[in-house]
């Protein structure tokens, strides 16, 4: 009841059994589907999602580790490069005096030697302790420049080795220098080299960072020491947060800044590592989608597979449940039909027993009344001189008693015919020919009532084994009823159709009339004895109940459909062989059928 729409309850309606059943089927459907989902799809999704998350994390960790290793290795490469340059300069400063470098051609040959394998230095200069150039090899005109006040000069004089940040200097373009201090008898001097900015940038960027990645260096103040691929230009302030100098490699995920890879990427992986000398931060960053591309692809495939599987299970569950429910519905319908048939049969059986008992008990008193009448009649005949008027009255009364006894006898005989179980006389019946005979028999009566017969007889209908005289009784009864149903109509028709339902081995005969029809509430009782729709005194109400009893005994079914003022259809379905058929008649029938075939 709780599943019913509220308006049902508000109206105080009780649901019809059909609505109730439909609601039950719906509940059953949802329950089956839900149960299957809870038992299969939900665990599958939970395990799938769980494993996906787990493998996702493992994959990410693996990618991060690779990323970290790459950065570690790259930092080492840059540091080694700077160390190598520094060591070469320091070696030269330690093993040669400023006079050696001041000699014409020596600095040039040293410069060429440094750049012999790879072009790494832009220029090379030797500077005395006052900041003036003693010698210079390079593309710029710097010999007259004094560096006494330059920061790098002070630092190298103080520390002996100095690698500068990128600066513009006298040449007005970004560069950085490595300077070492030499000592000789005349005091300290400086050997200074400018690292080629593009060569250094190539070195810095020489790492596998994919389509969206970039590598750059920033100093502690957050100024680009190389030009990154996307984010800005050398010596411009970087958008990245420099923070404190930290040992080792740090990898983090963060929202990409607007400069990185246009605005395409949402998140990026950023890895930072500090070089020891100079204190520059190496930054390697990449679009997270690209970094995790392979993992994401694999995860996506797994998720797709998982969800397709879940959806398939869901669809299959719904289809299977629907199929099962249809089976249940069909079985329910069959059970209903059987129940209703059983109820009707049992009702008819009870009524039959009752009818037989009543008829038999009434027959005895009737027999006595009949004998009493005969005795009175005998006495009346013996008495000669009787008052004429009394004689006429007595005669009338005795005749009337006879008429009424016969009427009662007819009723009890019909009752008994409905209930009795006599041996049927089984013979081969050609249904189509039989219908033709019955129609011929009734045609005159029908014609006088303005009713025509229509016959649609299927040639497929095979002969059946049944009781011809009992069938005749049934059809005469049905046709008489059909004629009576046209009482208030000027004309009408009675159609008789035959049909062979081959798979079930059933011959179907439908008698349809265009008469007044039977109201729905009366249809259920139409086969009950003494139930009649005819006016009082016109029918005993036994005709259809006798038909019902006969068709049942012949192993068939009779059913009725009717629409008021449109007509009534009686459908009779008979088996090819009546259950009463004796083996010899079956044999004869088989022979006949074979012959016909």
């Amino acid at each position: 009841m709780q599943d019913l729409p509220s308006d049902h309850l508000q109206n105080g309606d009780t649901p019809s059994p059909d609505e109730d059943r439909q609601a039950r089927y719906r509940r059953l459907f949802y329950r089956f589907v839900l149960l299957t989902l809870v038992c299969s799809v939900v665990p599958l999704l939970l395990v799938g999602w769980g494993m996906n998350i787990k493998y996702n994390r493992l994959g990410e960790e693996q990618v991060m580790t690779e990323f970290r290793k790459e950065v570690q290795h790259h930092r080492k490469v840059i540091e080694l490069f700077l160390e190598e340059q520094s060591d070469k300069l320091a070696l030269m400063a330690a093993t040669h005096s400023r006079q050696n470098f001041s000699r014409p051609g020596f600095l040039r040959s040293t410069f060429d030697l440094f750049n012999k394998e790879h072009w790494t230095l832009t220029d090379l200069g030797v500077i005395d302790d006052q900041g003036d150039h003693l010698a210079y090899v390079g593309p710029y005109d710097l010999l007259d420049k004094n560096y006494k006040d330059a920061h790098w000069f002070k630092m190298v004089m103080e520390k002996g080795l100095y690698i500068s940040d990128m600066f513009m200097g006298f040449r007005r373009e970004p560069h950085f220098i490595i300077a070492v201090r030499g000592n000789d008898t005349d005091g300290p001097w400086t050997l200074r080299a400018t690292v080629d900015t593009e060569a250094f940038r190539s070195l810095v960027e020489n790492v596998m960072i994919g389509r969206t990645g970039e590598v750059f260096l920033v100093n502690r103040e957050g100024i680009y020491q190389t030009t990154p691929r996307y984010s800005g230009r050398i010596m411009e302030p970087a958008a990245i947060d420099v923070g404190e100098v930290h040992p080792g490699i740090r990898v983090r995920q963060e929202a990409a800044d607007a400069g990185f890879n246009g605005e395409r990427s949402v998140r990026q992986i950023v890895s930072t590592a500090w070089l020891e000398t100079p204190q520059w931060m190496l930054v390697v960053r990449q679009d997270k989608d690209e970094a995790f591309g392979a993992e994401n692809q694999a995860n996506f495939s797994v998720l797709i597979f998982l969800h397709v599987t879940a959806a398939t299970i869901l669809v299959v569950t719904i289809l299977v449940t629907r199929y099962m429910l249809n089976l249940v519905k069909r079985k329910d319908a069959e059970a209903d039909a059987l129940n209703s048939q059983l109820m009707q049969t049992s009702k008819m059986a009870s009524i039959g027993e009752l009818s037989a008992g009543v008829a038999h008990e009434i027959n005895n008193p009737l027999a006595i009344i009949s004998t009493e009448r005969e005795i009175v009649l005998d006495a009346y005949r013996r008495v000669g001189d009787m008052d004429a008027e009394f004689g006429v009255q007595l005669d009338d009364s005795l005749n009337q008693i006879d008429v009424q006894i016969k009427r009662c006898k007819r009723i009890t005989h019909n009752l008994l015919r409905f209930s009795r179980r006599t041996q049927s006389v089984i013979d081969t019946v050609d249904i189509n020919a039989f219908i033709g005979e019955v129609v011929d028999l009734m045609a005159r009566e029908a014609k006088s009532s303005g009713i025509s017969f229509l016959e649609e007889l299927s040639p497929e209908v095979p002969p059946i084994l049944s009781d011809l005289s009992q069938l005749q009784q049934v059809f005469l009864n049905l046709i008489t009823n059909a004629i009576d149903a046209h009482e208030n109509k000027q004309y009408g028709s009675i159609s008789i159709r035959t049909n062979y339902l081959e798979p079930d081995g059933i011959v179907e005969i439908v008698v349809s009339d265009t008469g007044s029809g039977i109201p729905e509430e009366k249809l259920a009782k139409i086969f009950d004895p003494f139930f009649t729709t005819k006016p009082m005194g016109r029918g005993t109400g036994l005709g259809l109940s006798i038909c019902y009893g006969i068709i049942q005994r012949l192993g068939g079914e009779i059913s009725v459909k009717s629409v008021v003022n449109q007509g009534t259809d009686f459908t009779i379905r008979l088996p090819l062989r009546s259950p009463d058929a004796q083996p010899d008649s079956v044999h004869a029938y088989d022979q006949q059928v074979e012959k016909a075939a």
């Binding site: 038999h360 027959n363 006595i368």
Partner: protein, 151 residues
């Protein structure tokens, strides 16, 4: 119609039996009405009846059982079954067991007397045939004796 045919009416409905008896007597029969199968057997053992009109449905010994008992007596008497129609199968069975015919209640007296006449004729035929058989035997026996003697 054989005037004076002896009829035994067996029906548990006392009034019906009595009325029938009266009606038959009025038509020249000599009828005796009894109300049970046991009484009927006693009457048949003690007296000679041409036709028995036997109701099928009776308390105690029913019509079929009574019929079987009558058959055991080995009489020429013919039995007509009376049935309330509900037991028509029993009536048919009774005919198979040797009853002459059956009638359904309520029946008219003329109908009954017509059947009684038929039954009487059959009984008469059987008796005549029996006598003829006996005579035949008596006639045939000396001839056989003569044949033996001549040998």
């Amino acid at each position: 119609m054989m005037i004076g045919s002896k009829i035994l009416l067996v029906d548990d409905e006392v009034i019906f039996a009595k009325n029938m008896s009266r009606l038959l007597d009025a038509r020249g029969y000599q009828s005796t009405a009894v109300n049970s199968g046991a009484e009927a057997i006693r009457e048949l053992e003690n007296g000679n009846f041409d036709v028995v009109v036997l109701d099928l449905k009776m308390p105690g010994m029913d019509g079929l059982t009574t019929l079987k008992e009558i058959k055991k007596l080995g009489l020429f008497t013919q039995t007509l079954m009376l049935t309330g129609h509900g037991s028509i199968d029993s009536a048919l069975e009774a005919v198979k067991l040797g009853a002459y015919d059956y009638l359904t209640k309520p029946c008219e007296i003329d109908e009954l007397t017509a059947k009684i006449e038929g039954a009487w004729d059959k009984k008469d035929d059987l008796e005549k045939k029996d006598i003829q058989d006996k005579i035949q035997k008596v006639v045939e026996s000396p001839r056989d004796a003569m044949r033996l003697f001549s040998k």
